[in-house]
């Protein structure tokens, strides 16, 4: 009876986002049949989506093995041209749209609970990350009293903290499937209590050479911004896509701060945007401001000053720090529509969220005013994360910014900073990061 009842519950799903799948996975929050969970240990189904370079397969296996039995894995193409990874036998693969993916997840869950489908076994051997037994004078895996590597992990050593005290340091890797982070981002972190002492970003996994028949450079057909580089595209489409992107970024920040329902409302609004429909976004903005959570959670977090912002970030993130650069300023169509870049001055996470909301309203107004006008290809396209050129590097420089931005900050503020920067590793592939 328990199993029959559990089979009808919303399926607890842990999502592992690969390249090009972030938005598709975000949309799943609107589906009542499933419930997205924070930890793989709270899930029955692991939903893997998008393009997975080889370097992400082992971390994915580590996530897989953390799901409790009974468990199942579903891989979903999620609109990104990609092949399923070789993860575990019996994994369901779905190439079609959202409904098919949700159905596959629900079916897997029901079959598991009814005992029709066997629970998946471990992918990796259950062994410590390095050999340690019997090594060293006390068999603790190393030299001296504190130098060992019991269970194959380094002992937490002490180091000076921000107040000048000597405190234990914990080293760990967060990502590349940590829910709040953008797909593919992994950080090596040294923590002292709740404070990040050091953070180092792993190389961008999407920058590695990809032997699959769908290399990274393929622009998905729905990416109107990339299409605008070569074709004449309606301004209306560009601005609606921008508004959609910005609202999704705001939803991710809300979700991170425990506002799941608010995030759902924002994602739903994003999916239903119409030109000129400013009222819905404005009321959303007023609602957010009225409840004051943005101020409580975001003010003073992840501050980028104007100089740093102008060198390292682009798009709304840079404009939130007072850098009034926008490729639309030089575009004759936009000049006719009376476009002026919006900016904020503070450069913190709060300014970034306000910037995104202000630009969403602006985009909807522009879409309404543009009517049927097209934008001619040739000059730079202002993408949702900054100017796009055929060789644009996007978030790569921002990735290199993270160590300085996160060191000395509390973990919660660090995650807020990363999420509010709206990084995109997959769309930001450049050889520089692959090398460094």
């Amino acid at each position: 009876m328990l199993a029959a009842s559990g089979a009808r519950a919303p399926v607890p799903v842990f999502t592992a986002a690969g390249g090009g799948a972030g938005d598709a996975l975000q949309d799943l929050c609107l589906r009542r049949e499933i419930r997205l969970v924070d930890s793989p240990r709270h899930a029955t189904v692991l939903l893997v989506a998008g393009r997975l370079p080889r370097s992400l397969v082992r971390p994915l296996a580590q996530v897989h093995d953390q799901l409790p039995h009974p468990r199942a894995t579903v891989w979903w193409q999620a609109g990104s041209p990609s092949e399923p990874p070789q993860l575990v036998p019996g994994m369901t693969t779905v190439a079609a749209g959202q409904d098919a993916a949700v159905e596959a997840v629900v079916t897997a869950h029901r079959e598991l609970l009814r005992g029709v489908r066997a629970s998946e076994q471990h992918v990796l051997a259950d062994e410590p990350p390095a050999r340690w037994r019997g090594v060293g004078p006390h068999g603790q895996g190393g030299e001296g009293m504190m130098g060992g590597r019991p269970y194959g992990r380094p002992m937490p050593m002490t180091g000076p903290d921000r107040d000048g005290l000597e405190l234990d340091q914990v080293r760990c890797t967060v990502g590349p499937f940590f829910g709040p982070f953008p797909p593919g981002l992994a950080l090596d972190v040294v923590l002292q209590g709740d404070v990040v002492q050091e953070a180092t970003a792993h190389p961008n996994p999407f920058a590695e050479p990809d032997p699959s028949p769908h290399p990274a450079g393929d622009a998905p057909a729905h990416d109107v911004f990339r299409r605008a580089l070569t074709d004449a595209v309606p301004v209306r489409d560009l601005e609606l896509a921008r508004a959609d992107h910005h609202l999704r970024a705001v939803a991710r920040v809300a979700d991170l701060h425990g506002l799941r329902a608010v995030a759902r409302r924002v994602v739903r609004t994003a999916g239903q945007l119409q030109p000129g429909q400013v009222a819905a976004v404005r009321s959303l903005r007023q609602r957010l401001e009225r409840w004051r959570w943005p101020r409580w959670a975001l003010a003073g977090v992840g501050v980028l000053d104007r100089q740093v912002a102008s060198r390292t970030v682009a798009g709304p993130t840079a404009r939130a720090a007072g850098v009034a650069v926008d490729a639309r300023s030089d575009d004759p169509v936009y000049a006719d529509l009376g476009f002026e870049p919006v900016t904020h001055q503070e450069g913190d996470a709060l300014a970034r969220v306000r910037q995104l909301l202000a630009e969403t309203e602006q985009a909807l107004e522009l879409a309404a005013r543009a009517a049927g006008r097209h934008r001619a290809p040739g000059s730079g396209v202002e993408g949702p994360r900054g100017a796009l050129t055929p060789t644009s590097a996007g978030s790569d420089t921002a990735l290199r910014l993270l160590p300085d931005l996160l060191a000395g900050r509390e973990w919660g503020d660090s995650v807020t900073t990363v999420v509010s920067l709206d990084l995109d590793l997959d769309g930001a592939v450049s050889p520089a990061v692959a090398a460094g």
Partner: protein, 311 residues
């Protein structure tokens, strides 16, 4: 012959057990309903009524995972302790003038003690699995718990003053003419802040936050996770029940029987707390400490001072 003491113990255990499970269930249903309202998803109420049971059923069929070198004993004890503390807090809530499971002379102090000991349960739940996110979640709670319990102490002493007693039933009787929510307008809001802190709910959910992939319960699965969730709902219910007793006149009210009034008032406070979880985002640790020590604690002093003057 049936011993009267045994019967009353049995009735007490059944009452507390029922309120514990029912409270957690009501919290889960309210969470579904208010979440759907805020999220604009709509949906039939029947779904909200059955979903918590179904979700619980999944957890009961799921494996309880171990981590690498956990402290298995303390890990198992942690959710049990937290549940027991919620239960202890519920025992002192009078349901009517004649029915209190444990009408101890220092009932309000017992609730305060449960709040303080919750810190140990939450810390152990995070520390025992030997994992970074759990550990950070546990420590976060410990770092904030002092702020919560200090505030709680002042607010609770203030309600004891007009009653000239620490006994919960006396505190209710002292509100016969005027409820404490009117007499001490600062008290209830401050108390609700403490109650959401102790159940690490809404803006004060720092211990089990999503920036820690679930924090102190990031490694919990199956029945362990279920007990933890139930305990958390029960602790929120206990806070609301004590709030309804100390500020909203407990069983007092016309027409309806006392226990119904207690249940209604508790549900109203629960709805406020659950709604706060959907409307107010999680605060930053630093901000919580600053707000507690520079704004809420002085307000609690003021609350106590005014209560003293009036009494």
């Amino acid at each position: 012959m049936v011993d009267v003491a045994h019967v009353s113990t049995l009735v007490g255990v059944l009452t507390v057990g029922t309120s514990l499970v029912l409270g957690a269930y009501v919290v889960a249903v309210l969470d579904e309903v208010i979440g759907a309202r805020v999220g604009g998803d709509g949906g039939p109420i029947t779904t909200a009524l059955v979903t918590p049971w179904r979700r619980g059923a999944i957890l009961l069929t799921q494996q309880r995972l171990a981590t690498e070198r956990p402290d298995a004993t303390t890990w198992a004890i942690a959710p049990a302790t937290y549940t027991a503390l919620a239960a202890a807090a519920l025992t002192v809530v009078p349901l009517s003038p004649s029915f209190v499971v444990a009408d101890v002379r220092a009932g309000i102090v017992l609730y305060g003690a449960a709040e303080v000991l919750a810190m140990i349960a939450i810390f152990l739940n995070g520390w025992s699995p030997n994992s970074v996110f759990g550990l950070v979640g546990g420590y976060r709670f410990v770092a904030l718990a002092v702020s919560y319990t200090l505030l709680s102490m002042f607010v609770l002493i203030a309600v004891a003053l007009p009653a000239e007693s620490l006994q919960m039933s006396e505190i209710v009787r002292a509100q016969q003419g005027l409820w404490n929510v009117v007499r001490q307008p600062l008290g209830l809001p401050l108390f609700l802040v403490v109650a959401s802190g102790i159940a690490f709910w809404g803006p004060l959910n720092l211990a089990d936050a999503s920036d820690l992939a679930g924090g102190s319960s990031a490694e919990a699965s199956g029945s362990h996770l279920l007990v933890w969730k139930v305990a958390r709902g029960a602790m929120l219910t206990a806070g609301s029940a004590v709030g309804a007793t100390a500020f909203l006149g407990g069983w007092l009210g016309p027409w309806l029987p006392g226990p119904v009034w207690v249940a209604l008032k508790t549900s109203v406070l629960l709805a406020v707390l659950v709604a706060s979880g959907h409307l107010l985002g999680r605060m930053r640790v630093e901000r919580v400490v600053t707000v507690f020590w520079t704004v809420l604690l002085p307000l609690a002093f003021l609350d106590l001072a005014l209560a003293g003057l009036v009494a």
